[in-house]
Amino acid sequence: MRKGTIIVSVATALLICGCVSINRPPLAPNYAVSDLHPAASNGKADYAFSLAQAYARGIAGVGKNLFEQQRYLLLAAEAGYAQAQFQLANNFLLGSNGFAQDSQRGLYWASRLQQSNFGMAAGLLASAYGDQSYRSALTPDPVEAYKWSLFSENKYYQERFRKGLSEVQLAEAQSRAEALRQQRAATQEIKP
């Protein structure tokens, strides 16, 4: 067998064995422009939220843009998308992602989040009242923090915010939680 045949055989064998691969880089994704925007403008809240994320990170065919990021987040939150409501509440409570700190608006979006995902809202409020490192716009209140943790279905939060509370404070938190439970039950009974 000739040398040329050997070289060709070895090269073919290498290619077949996958030792040498041929790579053609794909085009940079542009789905924010081609897919997310048309769906978001048709009222799809989850797409509006993804578009806000794309503008936050400057990916998928769009650049970083705070104006567009904030307005799509508001659009998704107003349309009832829980993740967007959570982020908006968080942004207003912390004063992050270009939002000015505003406890009233933070609590408003937390109340909207309560309607779409009560457990998520409770976890957010527990943190906002109890977690000092969170530096939220709300005045720290360990009793409120424990009360909300009881609704968060988060055992870690419940143990964490229970620590350090006196018997009186625990009883107060339990009683506020019970009042809220009854209030929620009454509201749900009114609904058809």
Binding site: M1, R2, K3, I6, S9, V10, L14, C19, V20, S21, I22, N23, R24, P25, P26, L27, A28, N30, V33, S34, H37, P38, S41, G61, V62, G63, N65, F67, E68, R71, L74, L75, A77, E78, A79, A100, Q104, R105, L107, Y108, A110, S111, R112, Q114, Q115
Partner: protein, 226 residues
């Protein structure tokens, strides 16, 4: 049948050949031959084709591609503005808002405000809420906050936007762009189902005032008095 046979050469040459083969495998064992990327013609094929005959959404997508330099186009703010204007001229609300953003970024306040107002005029409650929010907080350094315009757009949005009602409640509670009126504020908060605001304000009002607020809230929810 023989598929492969060693070349008829001496033992020394065979070793050299084996070593060369092993070196080849070791050297380019995991080699990747990278080809140049395919030519990106998505903007041309997907957006421009439809934008030129007048499709507003495609014009907006083409403008975005020029603005951010994607889908095979280089960044070109002039072309972006041209296509945003083409889409906006057909009543495309997102194009009006993008135009406003570009004008504010370019320091052109009046043009930006005009584009914002157009977005509110052409859009539904969601766009009006957005315009109200932008006017309320302003856009530093070009656009200072404007509570009067914010209130105007929140009022337009309030027939179907809960968030706009909450902002109107906050304005009435603090006396921003109008008189301070706690009954009206509570009514807006009730209409917005803003539970924390309602809880806070109810304690400051008499039973009769709360009843008046509840009645007003019902009217506002039904859009009788937006």
């Amino acid at each position: 049948m023989t598929f492969f046979s060693w070349p008829t050469c001496g033992r020394g040459s065979r070793s050299v050949l084996l070593l060369a083969g092993l070196a080849l495998i070791g050297g380019i064992g995991c080699a990747t031959i990278t080809l140049p990327p395919p030519e990106d013609q998505r903007a041309k094929n997907q957006f421009q084709k439809l934008a030129e005959p007048g499709n507003a959404e495609a014009q907006y997508q083409l403008a975005l591609s020029y603005r951010y330099g994607s889908s095979g186009l280089a960044v070109n703010p002039q072309e972006a503005l041209r296509w945003f204007k083409a889409a906006a001229g057909q009543g495309h609300v997102d194009a009006w808002l993008a135009l406003a953003d570009m004008e504010f970024q370019g320091g052109r306040r009046e043009a930006g405000v005009a584009a914002l107002e157009e977005a509110g005029q052409h859009g539904g409650a969601a766009a009006q809420l957005t315009v109200g929010t932008i006017f309320e907080s302003g856009l530093a350094p070009t656009l200072p906050p404007n509570s009067e315009r914010a209130r105007f757009w929140y009022q337009r949005a309030a027939t179907s936007s809960s968030a706009a009602r909450q902002r109107l409640g906050s304005f009435a509670e603090r006396g921003i762009a109008g008189q301070r009126d706690l009954v009206s504020a509570l009514a807006w908060y009730l209409a917005a189902a803003s539970s924390f605001d309602v809880q806070r304000l109810q304690g400051q009002l008499s039973r009769a005032e709360q009843q008046r607020a509840a009645l007003l809230a019902k009217q506002r929810r039904e859009g009788a008095q937006p």
